[in-house]
Subunit: 262 residues, 5 copies
């Protein structure tokens, strides 16, 4: 399982803590609850303004999705589509009905059912592509939430620092308090920068990468399903779908297709 996202976040935090301690400071000097509340609270407040409530209530689900890797195995799915093509070739499109239950992916399953139902090819394409476009929009909205957090947290970090600076400048009577006061004022900028650059911006990017990968898979499925419906030769379908893969991964399909063919 690919835990890169969690690993990267842990690595980043460990490095920051190590950086603080190796400089001889106490971790406690860098923890200020009020500053954390302003940066996280302010960042979320602005983001809540920018999105419908459902985006905020669904944040946990998108967050969970951002830190876990896509578990799509492109080569397995191409293998599956080629198996289906072989079944359809040998026993006709109706024979796919039995195969439907073995398919775990909802999108592929729906496509196969549309074919089994004898839906017009143009309509199959229209429905699957609309669904893909709609998936893409939902993914983009999820990514947008993270991107907004990533831009607003540093902004509220700066707002927090301005609050601290103004407070300090209004009370310059005690020179010995200037240093510590400025240190605290800078903490919100520190938090805003850290949270944005270690969490929100990279996680938003990860959501984009995952979304692109999922869309590629879905396009492979649509291409494969339409080819099956058109009664194309499984060998040609394999050739077509393998073109979506990097050369290094293509080898892994040959055998599966071989098995499907026998």
């Amino acid at each position: 399982m690919d835990l890169a996202s969690i690993g990267g976040m842990v690595l980043g935090l460990v490095l920051v803590v190590w950086g603080i301690m190796s400089g001889g400071s106490a971790i406690g000097d860098f923890i200020d609850t009020g500053s954390i509340v302003i940066v996280i609270g302010g960042g979320f407040a602005g983001t809540i303004v920018a999105f419908p409530l459902s985006a905020t209530t669904g944040f946990g689900k998108v967050f969970a999705k951002s830190i876990k890797p896509n578990d799509f195995k492109t080569n397995e799915i191409i293998g599956k589509v080629i198996d289906l093509a072989n079944v359809a070739r040998r026993e006709g499109l109706l024979a796919l009905e039995e195969a439907v239950n073995d398919i775990q992916d909802d999108f592929l399953q729906k496509g196969v059912m549309l074919i089994v139902d004898g839906t017009d090819p143009e309509l199959v394409k229209n429905i699957l592509e609309t669904e893909l476009g709609s998936l893409q929009d939902r993914h983009a909205a999820g990514k947008g939430y993270f991107d907004t957090l990533g831009s607003l947290m540093p902004a509220f970090g700066m707002i927090g620092t301005l609050i601290g600076l103004v407070a300090m400048l209004k009370n310059l009577s005690d020179p010995s308090s200037i240093g510590p006061a400025m240190a605290v004022a800078l903490l919100t900028t520190f938090y805003g920068s850290l949270f944005a650059n270690l969490f929100w911006i990279p996680l938003g990017q990860k959501l984009g990468v995952n979304s692109a990968e999922e869309q590629l898979i879905r396009q492979v499925m649509i291409e494969g399903l339409l080819s099956i419906q058109a009664g194309e030769n499984p060998r040609i379908i394999e050739e077509k779908l393998k073109a979506f893969l990097p050369p290094s991964v293509r080898q892994t399909i040959g055998t599966q297709e071989g098995e499907g063919e026998e």
Copy 2:
């Protein structure tokens, strides 16, 4: 009712006030009428330059729109379109005339009337899509007003701070006044940053999100209307339109369509 935008703005302001007070400052130290006037006035002045007068006079309406949620219920509208498809299927396109009055959405109503009038399908599509494009332009202009405010208020915040710094530097004779003078100078930057990041930028984004949602709905309507006019099977229309929805919302339509069919 989805009050996320208002809630987010209130939450942000409460956090900022709490942040000021928890740092031991008086709220009064952070209120400076002149600074507020320069930031808000200057931001609006630049924005007024950038848009036709009508955009400024219509600002209140767009603002009201930005803080209230879209009340489109996609599933209800798809249900409605399927009902219309059933009526058209059973009783002919002319029978839709009676149904027109039950439709509350102007766009859908206009589309149905075009169909009832026997308008050429190509022309129906042309008219509805032109209207959609024109709606999109108006939405983008509204969002542009907010985005401009969001970029000019921090700019005038910095201009205000420069005014304060220059004034202070010209009169360094009294060292005790330096701190408070700089504090006041920083307030315009603080206001510009706060207003932009809590109000204008998020609200501009919200307008974009709402606009995208409304356009999706309109596309569903156009797709549905053209299918009705083409005499397609209501079940197929349902299949087509449901592809625009996230899987989780699709269930809610089945029953309505069932009712419509009986």
Copy 3:
């Protein structure tokens, strides 16, 4: 007449002057001819580098265009097109020749003359769209000049401030001169920021808004002219063109079309 741009610039300048005076400074402290020359001169110098000489010599004309509103009246023009459609319908395309002289807009006039000359519809479309594209390019170039000024003036403001800072740091012998020297150094940043955010950036945006509006009108004209040439029903043409307008403006056309029809 819509004087929003001039009004906005005046409002912004008044606010800045008021901000300076309300802070107890003399306006004279904020006026430094050398700084103004560096910011405006440097900004224009860089912009002159970036564009052909003709863009600089034509700057005055584009500036004049940016501060005055578009005087297109979309509803009047749609009314005019529908009148032409009625004439063509009743008396044939050749009858439009007489109407040509009443048309004040060059683009519309040229289109009508092409139709009267019996030009092939495909060619009419080709010529009018090429002209529209060419107009769009010229508008974009004009807007580009303003955008470049808006990005280079703050840059030369910073360059001016760096010059001032270096000069000051080289001669720290007299501590009492530090404050005033820094004040003067900051003035170029102040000018660069003010000129960019009150004049060039908003005026560039205004040119973009005006250009979009003019292009919409031209598209309405092309759509209308092609429909007239195709001999479409004036009522249908009206329906098509009204779809370009916001619902609130549509009412104003009905009567004119009514008059045209009788």
Copy 4:
């Protein structure tokens, strides 16, 4: 001849020198060979990394191109195309062979030769458009080199300033050296900003403007050549090509076309 680019650069440098001297500083205070080497050297080092070696060795040629104006005379070229159309109309496409030698532009010449050779119109279009696309890619690469210099020189300016600041902070023992040391440290930022905003960014933009202009001319040529090959009426070709020009320039063609026609 249009020497706007050189004039603008000279004007900018004169203003900066004047700004330095009018502030009472010596020009010598602003010249530091080491700083210049770091900013220019570092900026080019990073840019060399980003491009194939040939882009760096060809820099001089692109630079020369950026400071001299396009010498395309659109109206002359349109006149030329119309002359060719008249020849082709009167004497047939083969008669263009003699005219080929009078054509100074390689692209137009190649197009005419393709026509004379009886090349299939689809292929003529394909070849000329591929060549245009390839020209566009080369122009974009040249512009990219300037844009990269324009973004890396300020970056190395900041890197130079950081080097100066760190050096100064490490040796605070002699307070009297702080000012001059900071002054020198700031010089790299000054150079980076000046070179980027007076040279690289505007010259990159100029290359873009010139490229757009050249592409427009090439499109006019392609449009004209295809029309000639299709045997269209020279008067119609003129009408088509003039639509690419601003109204103010169109007049200048009429006479030439008249001459061509007689």
Copy 5:
């Protein structure tokens, strides 16, 4: 061999070292292991979060690719395609089978084999373009990794500086330590800026340039292969493919084609 990337990086580092030493500082003052660890470690940590694990494990390969030049020789490849066209013309498509083994490029080889196998032209185009699109996606992902490093390293540089500043401000008791402490704090910003602007940003750009070049070659191959399959005249194919090249390189093909023809 084109070693511009390595040369540029070495040049940049030499200049920075020279800049440090010419200012009289010791190189040792600019080396701080902890700072380097935070900037590089933090930058990679965030980037690891943003991409699937495979992107991080494959980083070395992409890095190697970014610093070595493309070894595509466009003119040789065009010559090769024309040779193939001559073979196909003289001896039929099947005769290409023997030529396949001489082709070193996998993509071109695959295309020729598809043709030899008698694959439908539409399918050949579909497969090769899918493969090209998929290559483009992989290249963009590799470039994305570098761009992310280039944006996160300066961010972690700033985070490191904030850590240093906060630590320093908390302990202002010993004034003599302020300078050195700030110097160290600034080092992370220095590293972040240097690494981003000398390595990641230019190398990311280089990957983009290389990718564009490779895609152009692939498009030339696709165009050539489809023309061969369509049985087009080798001379015409040459004309078509040469249009992809800059005029200066075109000469080098003539001879090869001549050899192929005899």
